[in-house]
């Protein structure tokens, strides 16, 4: 059999791989591909319909074959392999010894468009991005219905092809920024990019950053906001997120949905988020500073009641705080891991630990529970889960410095964080900018 020559040996072993003989018009055809990726009955149906509309008799054999798809020139094992792996099928016309690559009816392997799972929307479009890159581009295009929207697609990766698309608005995006981004991508097209760390490497960001350089969002609406602010959007196939570059500090506090509220309320809500971030970073440090280094700052009544609640606690405030903070982080992490049905159990157990029990066991003081509750709650007011993690990390720096230097340590920790944030730039755009379209920047 002629076909056998072409088929790579590993494919022959693969039980997912199929060869199906059929006839289209008068020609006998072998269809090859992966069962799991192709809806075979409907594909066959389509092929037959196509064969009826233009038979070999009407056209010459060449034209007939090309009416199904693209002929594969110089077929060899590797091209067959890539075509099949991509999810296409190959038609082998044995009489003519020719391969045609055809886009079949695929099996539906993507979920339908649903509500977002990591970002809640109170007012605004609720549909979220999915794994399929085409759908995503389509959804963003629906939101940003403008002629200025440009899409650049790359196939990246050395052995395994993965699609990466860059979306931007020609009238908004700074040309230098565009060149910087495309330059970075095009020079590293052979890199394998499977996750955001690799993508971040590809774009040339430092690996050791506490702050994510892309703002990822599930909402096409947010992506559109990024576009109209002159940012670029990266879409990676099989990644249900739009990655907005560059990400800026202000993105921690503002989402597009805010604009669906009255202006005053919008500013109040954003102020609340800022307060939340500050509370989360400062409050544990403040507790430690006031309890162990600068108790004179507290009012006497408060000082006495804290002293009373700490009477039998056997270790210093910093240990006490770290202990409970780590338990809290564990609970946060565990509740991500657990299936939804078991989640409430965890909440309950966590509630018991962090509730009265740990206080009555004299492991921590009463006030600390309140402090930590406030901290945890406020850590979630920030926009985007990835950002809330950065803030959770910063908190520990302040905590440690406060333990040594009291209020001075607290404030100098803030200085360090401010300086760190100020030092971050992505593609020359400082993290602290309120980025405005086309070069007009202030910050």
């Amino acid at each position: 059999m002629l076909l056998d020559r072409y088929i790579p040996p590993p494919l022959k072993e693969d039980s997912d791989f199929f060869i199906r003989k059929t006839r289209l018009s008068q020609l006998s055809v072998n269809i090859i591909g992966y069962t799991s990726l192709i809806d075979l009955p409907r594909t066959l149906e389509l092929l037959h319909k196509q064969a009826e509309s233009g038979t070999v008799a009407d056209l010459n054999a060449e034209a007939f074959m090309e009416s199904f798809g693209k002929p594969v020139k110089a077929p060899d094992e590797s091209t067959i392999m890539t075509t099949v792996t991509r999810g296409d099928i190959l038609l082998y016309f044995s009489e003519h010894d020719a391969f045609i690559s055809v886009t079949p009816v695929p099996k539906v392997l993507t979920r339908s468009i649903e509500a977002p799972t990591t970002e809640n929307v109170l007012r605004g479009a609720i549909s979220s991005l999915v794994e399929d890159i085409e759908t995503n581009i389509g959804m963003i295009k629906k939101h940003a219905a403008t002629q200025q929207l440009r899409v650049k697609s790359y196939s990246i990766g050395d052995r395994e092809g993965k699609r990466l698309s860059l979306l931007y608005r020609e009238d908004k995006l700074d040309l230098a920024l565009l060149r910087a981004i495309t330059g970075k991508i095009e020079s590293r097209l052979d890199w394998d990019v499977k996750n955001l760390q690799q993508l971040s490497d590809m774009l040339g960001f430092s690996r050791w950053s506490f702050v994510t350089r892309f703002n990822s969002t599930e909402l096409p609406q947010e992506a559109e906001r990024g576009l109209s602010q002159g940012k670029a959007i990266l879409l990676l196939d099989r990644m249900p997120f739009a990655l907005v570059v560059p990400s800026l500090l202000w993105d921690l506090f503002a989402v597009d949905n805010d604009h669906n509220f009255p202006v005053l309320l919008m500013y109040l809500v954003r102020l609340l988020r800022i307060v939340g971030v500050l509370t989360n970073m400062i409050v544990p440090g403040l507790y430690v500073a006031l309890v162990s280094v600068n108790p004179d700052v507290l009012r006497i009544e408060l000082a006495l009641s804290i002293a009373r609640s700490r009477v039998d606690v056997p270790y210093p405030a910093i240990v006490e705080t770290l202990l409970l903070l780590i338990i809290l982080e564990l609970i946060l992490e565990a509740s991500i891991r657990l299936p939804k049905s078991i989640g409430p159990t965890l909440t309950m157990v966590g509630g018991i630990i962090l509730g009265q029990a740990v206080v009555s066991a004299k492991l921590v003081s009463n006030l600390l529970i309140i402090i930590l509750a406030a901290t945890t709650i406020s850590s979630s007011t920030v926009v985007g889960f990835q950002n809330s993690i950065s803030i959770r990390v910063f908190k520990y720096l302040i905590l440690l410095l406060s333990a040594f230097y009291g209020v001075l340590g607290l404030l100098s920790g803030l200085v360090i964080i401010c300086a760190y944030l100020a030092s971050i730039t992505s593609f020359g755009i400082p993290y602290l900018h309120f980025y405005k379209p086309k070069g007009d920047s202030r910050g």
Partner: protein, 359 residues
């Protein structure tokens, strides 16, 4: 532009370094510090006696204990007590400094100065004079039913138990009165009492850090009127009525002729009527009140002038009129001979819920 490779690593390294370096000194947690709220100080034959009232954080109820010791200097005693206690004494939360009357009459300049110098006592600490021996006072304070640890603190706090019949003076004000040419101060005098724990006994007149005389609570209110702190003060007018001061305003006019200083002082009080006996008219109450205030304040000022203690800070109004080197002698050369003309104007703002006769 200066560039820096991996800030995060460097920052982390710095942090670890800081942690290693600075773990070596001891910071004591709040429950390992003793936070006295009241310090009693007396001086016998050049030796200080000190009492500290310390709230005990041990149980659910707030308890307190009283420790005492004596020694050559204040810090010496604190060290001694600290050594004998299980925790370290932290004076930063000291709220009230209680001074024995005899010591106050000797002059407390040195103590005040050293308190200001050493940063471990807040300059906001109240200064109070105790009209009975300190050991007796603290005995009374430590009776089982007086175990509220912050009684004495709240007694002087503006948002708690303070009222205008009580003077309110802080360490920094004492220090100011020691060095200022024109500003003396008064210090409240208290003693223990069976029913209310603390009994107010008027105020002491402090001149250059020494107690020279004492005045009654009513006189204290008068001085608070001059200083503008009199709201909510209550005055009994003869036998006819009781009024509460709502607000007051004072204006001064100063004049110098040769060596003679003149001061015109115009006080406007807004009052409301609380209680009446018989049926006095509004005009009558007003007139009687004005008369009463004038008589009271004239007697009071005469006393102050005799003692050469300017606790109403009248000298401030002569700052532009008397050259600075002369102002230094304000207390001795000018104040006692100043011709003070007082005018009171009372406005009855309302009569409460009941109507009153106008005339």
């Amino acid at each position: 532009m200066l560039r820096f490779g991996k800030p995060a690593i460097r920052a982390a390294a710095m942090l670890i370094l800081a942690a290693l370096l600075s773990g070596c000194w001891d910071t004591k947690d709040i429950n390992h510090r003793v936070l006295p709220v009241v310090m009693g100080l007396s001086k016998v034959d050049g030796n200080y006696n000190m009492f500290l009232q310390i709230p005990e954080p041990t149980s659910d109820d707030s308890k307190m204990r009283i420790v005492s010791d004596s020694g050559e200097t204040v810090s010496d005693i604190v060290d001694k007590i600290s050594m004998n206690l299980e925790s370290q004494i932290d004076l930063l939360h000291l709220k009230v400094l209680l001074i024995d009357r005899k010591y106050a009459e000797e002059g407390i300049n040195d103590s005040i100065t050293s308190f200001i110098r050493a940063q471990d006592i807040s300059p906001k600490t109240m200064v109070v004079i105790c009209d009975e021996p300190l050991d007796r006072f603290f005995d009374a304070m430590s009776k089982p039913d007086n175990q509220e640890s912050t009684t004495l603190v709240h007694f002087f706090e503006k948002n708690a138990g303070w009222n205008p019949q009580v003077a309110q003076t802080r360490i920094w004000q004492m220090f100011r009165s020691i060095h200022s040419y024109t500003n003396d101060t008064m210090v409240p005098i208290i003693r223990s009492d069976d029913s209310t724990v603390i009994q107010s006994r008027g105020s002491a007149i402090i001149r250059n850090g020494r107690m020279v005389d004492r005045i009654t609570p009513d006189d204290t209110l008068m001085i608070n009127i001059f200083n503008g702190h009199s709201a909510q003060g209550k005055i009994e007018v003869m036998d006819h009525a009781n009024v509460e001061i709502v607000s007051n305003a004072i204006s001064h006019k100063s004049r110098v002729a040769g060596n003679q200083t003149f001061l015109e002082c115009h006080v406007r009080l807004k009052v409301t009527i609380l209680e009446t006996k018989g049926e006095p008219s509004v005009a009558q109450v007003k007139w009687e009140l004005e008369d009463l205030l004038r008589k009271r304040s004239e007697a009071l000022l005469a006393k102050l002038q005799k003692r050469k203690a300017d606790i109403v800070a009248f000298g401030q109004h002569f700052r532009t009129k008397i050259p600075r080197d002369q102002l230094a002698k304000w207390r001795t050369d000018y104040f006692p001979y100043t011709d003070i003309n007082l005018q009171f104007q009372v406005i009855v703002q309302n009569e409460g819920n009941l109507k009153m006769r106008k005339h």
